[in-house]
Symmetry: C2
Subunit: 333 residues, 2 copies
DNA sequence: TTGAAAGCGCTAACAT
DNA sequence: ATGTTAGCGCTTTCAA
């Protein structure tokens, strides 16, 4: 920057200002400086800037898996909105393990992010401590934690499933099974399972038709395998609720390979409104989790908190509202 | 760090050493220091460390889309291998636009990454300049560029498609169509289309059965729409090659909705070995692009280049070898 | 194994 | 609108 200053015949401070958007530099001077910088091949050093200004422009975002279209949608929306405020995402993924989340949090805080976004409301105690003491906004998403660390943008996975069960029961379904949500790592999956079981109980229905799908990520293959076991153990099941659309699609293929008609012989529903659920034959009933909305709302919240015009204020809980999408796979004959 | 030093009764320099892995600090002193740091809630400041040591531990990685399982697999493997060398990914995505790629590159270089990974070999001239002058290893992936900027880890999309066409022709297919690859943004898709057309030409077959799928990301829905047009314009087509498994699956569903049997009435093949291609009914023939291998190999290359034991050396081209996976959707009756 | 001095490249704060 | 001074929190370098 010193070199650029010399080349342009100004002080380093003026060069610094010329590289800021709102700084007070005459248009003429700025042009001269940018030209000099370009000729010298100068590249602004954000590291030094961050240290001196104590602002990094980073927002840490931690998701369970990078290879999940729902979380990808959230991150994409988050990233797009944040970039309008000159904020950049520092992405990490936990492989559905809170110990790994703790490690990531501890690592990322060293980079001095200006806010941190988490997926879910279950964390190690040390992670909670680190976050509470970090002095930056913490936003938990994709859940409504009982004991929030800071802000929340999300929904109750259990309540979403209750709505689905209520609807299926209203449609006349009685023998209802569930696939997945057995592993502790996938806390949202476990919440969905709990929601289904408790809703079934409330209707006085059988709550034992539960099939494990193993450790997350629960994908299509696991869904197919679990459906095979469902059909063996509970062959008279009328509708199978799956922890996600991916497992629901896998379950659907298992039925197709066995010559079972969906929904005529057995109905299937999923969760997440992945693209496949609206394209497959039959299309799959699901719940839209508002992935992108979660990202957008979170970004807006962060922009507001980081701009720092307001005096912190207290932690907010912003609910989003999943939507039931009834499609061919659970249509009553 | 000064506070920690005082609390532990040592100099800041010793604290600094205690936080390094290999530094020479007596076990006793280190323990004392870590305890003091923990009690004070001290969090190491990577920003200052980066500035002084001129090492950030960042590797910039730019992919077309975060919501693509192939690129996600590459990034996951890259990230996992890099973290063993204390390197962290700074992820950006271009939405398949090289102008956006240029903007991202320029932004990311300010953060002083120690290497930069790109997807594809097509970039703006300014992007090429920025990268050439950045003084860090540049690795282009998922392609074999004619004019590489630095290192390359990838394969020829056109050659991969030639193999597929050759195989289909050997299986007796003659009227072969292609869906996608029409938009300039998806350069790998365009390469695949070129590869198909040129291979068809070499066999003396009809090269006009090309259906546009629009701007990327080409997903299931676009595949279904394109298949509808293929069936209208070229109803006697024997096999349809799709730019990816997602569009291939979409194409498959369009056939199913029309009552066409795959592969008996029409065969379909895809690209990328996405999970769906091995689960759908029928399973979809495809080409495995070695997504994870690209990430792993790239990470190993970077680790070697960044450790800096060697004196730079010249740019390397490391080919990976896509594999034909023939499945039900193109099985000859 | 530990410490002291200097400075990485930028910008906050103040002055003009 | 521009310049000067000081220093962000570490680590390199040298010394003991």
């Amino acid at each position: 920057m010193k070199d650029v200053a010399e080349a342009a015949g100004v002080s380093p401070m003026t060069v610094s200002r010329a590289f800021k958007r709102d700084a007070s530099v005459s248009a003429e001077t700025r042009e001269k400086i940018l030209k000099a910088a370009d000729e010298l091949g100068y590249v602004f050093d954000a590291t030094a800037s961050n240290l001196r200004s104590q602002r990094t422009g980073f927002v840490a975002a931690i998701i369970p898996s990078i290879n999940n279209a729902n979380f990808a949608d959230t991150v994409r929306a988050l990233s797009a909105c944040l970039s309008e405020h000159d904020l950049q995402i520092l992405l990490g993924y936990t492989d559905y393990q809170i110990e790994e989340e703790e490690r990531l949090i501890s690592q990322m805080l060293r980079r001095r992010p200006e806010a941190i976004v988490l997926t879910g409301g279950k964390h190690t105690e040390r992670a909670r401590d680190l976050l509470s003491n970090a002095g930056i906004p913490v936003i938990e998403t994709w859940d409504l934690p009982e004991r929030p660390i800071g802000h929340v943008v999300g929904f109750s996975n259990a309540a979403a499933m209750k709505d689905m069960v209520d609807r299926l029961v209203a449609d006349g379904y009685r023998r209802i099974g569930f696939i997945g949500g057995d592993d502790k790592g996938d806390t949202r999956g476990a919440d969905r399972r709990r929601g289904v079981v408790s809703a079934l109980g409330a209707h006085g229905l059988d709550t034992t038709r539960l099939i494990a799908a193993g450790a997350p990520p629960i994908s299509m293959r696991e869904g197919a395998r679990a459906m095979a076991r469902m059909l063996e153990h509970y062959p008279d099941t009328e509708v199978v609720i799956c922890v996600s659309d991916l497992s629901a699609y896998g379950a659907l293929t298992e039925c197709q390979r066995r010559g079972l008609r969906v929904p005529d012989d057995i109905a299937i529903v999923g969760f997440g409104n992945y693209e496949i659920s609206d394209v497959s034959v039959p299309t799959i009933s699901t719940i839209d989790a508002c992935s992108a909305e979660i990202g957008r709302v979170t970004a807006e919240l962060i922009a507001e908190l980081v701009d720092g015009a307001k005096p912190a204020g207290k932690a907010r809980v912003i609910p989003v509202h999943p939507k039931l999408l009834l499609r061919e796979s659970s249509a009553r004959r």
